[in-house]
Subunit: 135 residues, 2 copies
């Protein structure tokens, strides 16, 4: 039983570390959001740079407040709806602190704990047409 | 003790799942390579597309053979050297199957098991100057 425990611990550390290394090496901005709370569960360095905030500022805070004119419940609902229908358009938004127009591509999943949404936040490329958000 | 075991199992599944979801959601191509074996330990969908091979083809096979004219020992050594000196240039290579010129950005780390190298494989942008490899 002791050996099994140690093996479990090793496997856990393995994925924990791979996860951290991958999240730091990717150039894409990623935020993990708790589906029920709407709060940031984890955020990578690219997302901190894009949102113009430190990891400390973002961890545990409501993701909606990072985007211009978004309310928490409505925003998490929009992320969930888009995650369930990946044929629909990415969510257009503006990062509040950095004033950067972005497109959000959410993926909903459930691991061990609460259901989560992984949001990839892509800066809208220059020259790309952006919806007015008035529709 | 039973509760602690269950909690460990839950934490393990949590990171395992986050790791998998992140690796599928990123647009960057990533390959995890065993430092001692030089073999592919894991590969994400973007890397399969860029290298022009299936996950099954790549898993467990020597990473060097995916690049034109690269020998296993020399290639893993180059990845390691670059990982230890991140001021040096990324490694220029050509993906053998897809004939795509790429730049490889390696990160060396050690989790529970054998030491690993995470390789981010970026397609060389059009118009970007590429070394001749003759120096």
């Amino acid at each position: 039983a002791q050996m099994a425990l140690e093996r479990d611990y090793e496997t856990q550390r393995e994925y924990d570390t791979r996860y951290r290394v991958l999240s730091e090496a990717t150039r894409d901005a990623f935020v993990f959001v708790g589906t029920r709370s709407g709060r940031v569960v984890d955020v990578n360095p690219a997302a901190c740079a894009l949102l113009g905030a430190s990891r400390n500022d973002l961890m545990g805070s409501p993701i909606a407040q990072e985007f211009e004119g978004r309310r928490r419940a409505e925003f998490v609902e929009a992320l969930n709806a888009r995650a369930l229908d990946d044929t629909s358009e990415p969510i257009q938004a503006e990062a509040r602190r950095s004033r950067t127009p972005v497109k959000i591509v959410p993926t909903a999943f459930r691991a061990a704990g609460e259901p989560l949404i992984l949001c990839r936040i892509d800066p809208t490329e220059t020259g790309e047409s952006v919806g007015s958000g008035m529709s």
